[in-house]
Symmetry: C2
Subunit: 490 residues, 2 copies
């Protein structure tokens, strides 16, 4: 019961951790940096997966599965990729344990691998090594493949969902005959991510291109979606990479065109991860706990009975079960919590903490009056509604809550996006207000680096819809033709 | 086109490998013992997953996710478990690579882990270490959790799907207040596996208990389903373990009962893996390739147009598209293969190899006559059907093919199950006929071991429905009260 969270205004980071634990989403495991995703958290992730998977398949992608392990030498094949990825990795060096003679086990020194295996931090190398065998002719293209998998990147400082040593994700890897097709695929996928974020997570995002220094290791261009969290920090929620012919050249993947000409294949890769869970939490939740958009809520409605004794429970349950059937028939995910092990007050708190969009409470007096108490999680408002109208009201509410959450988040973002013209202004906004800052930049790595070192703010992206305008870089005064998006970021 | 398979009668093992490769199900990767599951193979696995997942959820289970890595010391906590599992494992010893100064990378000796991490071969230890935190009271029980995951067991001799170093599976791990409940759960899950095998894979199975020596490391009782492959060898297709209080004691997981008493929790675990793909292949397929039961076929029907020139294609496509819509409306998964890059003959072979249950061919003469050529994959028969009746015929056929495949496999198994009374007979059947052999056994590990060493046959299970009868062990002549199931096995 003592599940009162720290207030966001007191300590946002503490609030986040308490919410993740308290709402039964995830917890730290006995393995440094690795999390356990608890059933309730996982059921939200499963909803995300199902929608994304549907969107991928509707656009012609198929799922496949590639090995967890990657031989060390594969990483050296694409020069910039090795710098970006092959460093902080889990390395498998042995394949056997043996008794240590003291009741425990030890690594068997005789079972050393000739070549070490890396636990995949991302799968470009192993996949392009495979594509060499799959692609000979233009008939084999495009190859549109996605994989749902676990990946490992050794992280020194970890936070549940946001940065963990092992995480779950999907990684799309496509191969195309032409540059144009590959670029179109890269753009299609960032659009799908944005659509998913906005329509399912109710999270407004800005689509843009990463600056050179923030690009994926091995990419010619990285598209991303960036979202603004409640504490004024940005979160990169998904990326889609145009890889050019880099991996095809590194792994010698050529195809014969219709005209009989040989050329290297063009590539893309794109991914979103369990990090989206962190984004979802920090976009909508409040001091009472998680707030879930109906489109991703495992339970959209919970019915709590209010009663004393078996006779009242029976009376109330009859109505509850009828309402549940009506809601189910309308496609609503609904749960009737008739556990006698917990009191109504405990249940109210519990479902508030877990973000269930609508709570219905039914007591004996409600049965008498033909009413039901309806509470909205997003607004924390309560009203008494007619039992006969409740199903229709709930159906409409699902839509309304989904839209309201999006609108609230969009308003917040609008209020916390500031255009600045000078570096003074820039630093001032960063310190006092935070949020997204639009500012002119001269396009050089040096300037970006200096701003980052001096302010901790990074270029989140060059927005795809940035308006072209004459301007001067806030730091150097050099000419710039559009403002780019800065923020401190997760 | 040169995709003619080796005949099963010539070399069953070669046929199997060629089929897996030829039907685009899976292939070996650049990583020793690890396979790539190709899109077509993966889409069959996804169908299996979806049905199993539904069955698990309908019986109250929830999915969750636990870490890939397990600290070495966890394995030593359950004595028999460490013997069975912790030996042939992938061991992570380092967490960083660095430039080797020669354009490659090397393991950074400064980044050695204090305690090595084992890539999970199964997750009992990490999960029970977690359950200690989740379970305090009878209110927290039962805990019914499943995980879909990759696991690694270092195998010396690997075969696609049947035995690979990394494989995909689900592992259920449940916790209960009483022994009776845990046993009931163990039995429920083996029943669900049998139901899945029979209704979806069209694969008859025998449910039984493993003998002591074949039990899961750490289990008090292992239930299994055993299937008979076309070459007379058995394949264990799923197991469900009653773990008693072994893991609860090893990881100190206690609960307080309603009456305020403290006791250790009772456990089960159960799993099926991508091995089921191998079982599916070896139950139904023929010398022409894969044969899929309609309930698991990604495409249940393929329509192939027969035409010369664009005009004919247009004519034929009109009918094909109409038929496709009709079939889709009836819930049939149907594909219209109008690629102009391949000839009809090539397509016929291809879909035969890939096991699509029904092929429809439509040419200009069919359009004229209002007919369609229908070919069944299971019987390799062709007939001309009326275009107007084709949708209804196909719907009925799905059911008929599903049943026919089951019946064929059940007949095969019946013909290849032999009851014997003497060891001579036993050895004779094994050599000449193979298959399942039912024989009396005295119940000792020594006898089991000797029979195994002398004949390579193992006790597959003690069938749950074995009839009780007086008898004597085929090897020792000691008394036995039921026959057990022997076979050579995968």
């Amino acid at each position: 019961m003592a599940k009162k969270l720290t207030k966001r205004s007191e300590d946002y980071s503490k609030w986040y951790n308490e919410l993740v634990i308290g709402a039964d989403l995830a917890e730290n495991s006995g393995v440094r940096g690795c999390m356990v995703i608890k059933p309730y958290g996982f059921s939200i992730w499963e909803k995300m997966q199902a929608e994304l998977d549907r969107m991928f398949k509707e656009t012609g992608h198929q799922n496949a599965y590639f090995p967890l392990f990657i031989p060390k030498s594969y990483f050296s094949k694409e020069a910039s990729h090795v710098d970006g990825f092959a460093k902080e990795c889990a390395v498998v060096t042995h394949y056997r344990l043996k008794d240590d003679g003291k009741g425990g086990v030890m690594v068997d020194p005789d079972a050393k691998l000739e070549e070490e295996l890396i636990v995949r931090p991302t799968s470009e190398t192993i996949i392009w090594d495979t594509y060499r065998k799959w692609i000979q002719s233009y008939r084999d293209l495009p190859l549109l493949i996605n994989q749902w998998a676990n990946v490992v990147r050794w992280e020194m400082r970890t936070r549940l969902f946001l940065r963990t040593t092992e995480f779950l994700w999907q990684e799309g890897h496509t191969a195309h005959a032409t540059k144009e097709e590959a670029v179109a695929e890269t753009e299609q996928m960032v659009n799908i991510y944005a659509e998913f974020a906005e329509n399912f997570m109710a999270m407004p995002v800005i689509k843009g291109l990463k600056s050179e220094s923030e690009r994926f290791a091995g990419a010619l261009e990285t598209y991303c979606i960036e979202a603004l969290m409640q504490d004024g920090k940005a979160l990169q929620a998904g990326t889609s990479h145009f890889l050019g012919q880099n991996f095809a050249k590194a792994f010698d993947v050529k195809f014969t065109s219709k005209e009989g000409k040989q050329d290297y294949v063009w590539a893309t890769s794109w991914g979103v991860s369990t990090r989206l869970m962190g984004a979802l939490i920090m976009t909508h939740s409040d001091d009472n706990g998680l707030v879930l958009p109906p489109n991703l809520a495992p339970d959209q409605v919970v019915i709590v009975p209010i009663y004393r004794g078996d006779e009242q429970l029976e009376l109330v349950s009859k109505v509850a079960n009828e309402v549940m059937s009506e809601l189910k028939a309308k496609g609503i995910r609904v749960k009737f919590d008739n556990r006698d092990t917990h009191k109504p007050g405990w249940k109210f708190n519990e479902y508030e903490l877990k973000g269930v969009p609508v709570r219905l409470a039914i007591g004996p007096r409600d049965v008498e009056n033909g009413t039901i108490e309806l509470a909205r999680r997003d607004t924390l408002t309560k009203e008494t509604v007619s039992r006969n109208e409740v199903a229709d009201i709930v159906v409409d509410l699902m839509d309304e809550i989904q839209k309201n959450l999006y609108k609230k988040a969009a308003n917040y973002r609008e209020e916390n996006t500031t255009e600045v013209e000078t570096y003074e202004e820039f630093k001032n906004v960063l310190e006092t207000k935070g949020g997204f800052i639009l500012a002119h930049w001269d396009g050089t790595i040096e300037t970006e680096e200096r701003i980052k070192n001096e302010t901790k703010a990074t270029i989140r992206c060059i927005p795809l819809d940035a308006k072209v305008e004459e301007g001067t870089c806030i730091l150097t005064g050099k000419p710039s033709n559009k403002k780019v998006l800065f923020a401190k970021a997760y």
